[in-house]
Symmetry: C2
């Protein structure tokens, strides 16, 4: 098992669609899921976690959905990782240093003093990994996507999301007339 997998990847891709919403408009989690052919329930769960972590805000109603809670430069990959996975240490120390055939019964005080040197090396690697994840933000990812994805596809995507919203509006009006 790798440390991070599909939850992080899905959440970041979803946030990129929220970040690209026109004029700070909201994006429906259901639309974002459908656009990427992902499970709507799974995506809803990820948005709930990101909302709890303060990365997105939700609005109710026909044109409701999720918006970024702060600027794209202020949401790092690390923020998203921690939001959807929780803090996950790289290494769990089992304090093997406290096991010794010579410790008759309990372990002496020195055997548990400070952080085990092996654990300390792992904590440094953990910090290096987290520092690196904190260096990339949504604005940079979004810029990369804008560079790679052809303009026609970007336009088609915007149209698709607008059409989903419009269809919901028509559905609501029809229901208002016939109900």
């Amino acid at each position: 098992m790798s440390q991070y997998g599909s939850a992080v990847e899905c959440a970041l891709h979803c946030l990129l669609y929220v970040a690209r919403a026109d004029e700070g408009g909201a994006r429906s989690a259901r639309d974002v899921a459908a656009f990427q052919k992902l499970s709507a329930d799974y995506v809803a769960k990820l948005f709930t976690r990101m909302q709890k972590a303060g990365l997105v805000t939700a609005t109710e109603g026909l044109h409701g959905g999720f918006r970024l809670a702060r600027g794209r430069e202020e949401i790092s990959v690390l923020d998203v990782v921690d939001a959807v996975e929780g803090y996950k240490p790289l290494f769990v120390c089992r304090e093997i240093r406290a096991n010794c055939v010579l410790f008759d019964g309990g372990k002496p005080a020195w055997a548990g003093r400070g952080v085990c040197a092996i654990h300390a090396a792992m904590l440094r690697a953990d910090a290096a990994m987290r520092d690196s994840l904190a260096e990339t933000n949504l604005a940079q990812l979004s810029e990369h996507v804008a560079h790679v994805v052809p303009k026609a596809q970007q336009k088609a995507a915007q149209n698709w999301f607008q059409e989903q919203g419009a269809a919901r509006g028509r559905g609501a009006r029809t229901r208002a007339i016939f109900n």
Copy 2:
């Protein structure tokens, strides 16, 4: 699940006992396991992996066992991690970017071009973590242990290992006489 756990911790602690063997003598995997109250089979498996990775060499016979295959400065925490865990990427990319409701059937060439920006951020974090793990070596860990563990305990440990070897010698002589 964290990325690394007891296999890495056990392997490093075991190597430290091999590194501290007097005058480059060999250490029996069974003794190293017994000293730390660890499963002998588990420790044997870890030594086999470290031998395959070229970190230790094995000698047969009554006073056989494992020795470091190179200097303590030349065995890093990363070497041990890779030996016992194999290369484990931090993140497995599922290429979600290739899923799009607008891609009718196959995905267009641009959708799979280069490394996904999310995957690239994860690869940078992976490299930062591995670079950090490569910065700590067995010599540094061993020095830390020598500093923390009281001299009397270090001496008692050396005596315990010598006594195990001597007991095996007496056992062999007894068997030679009576068999």
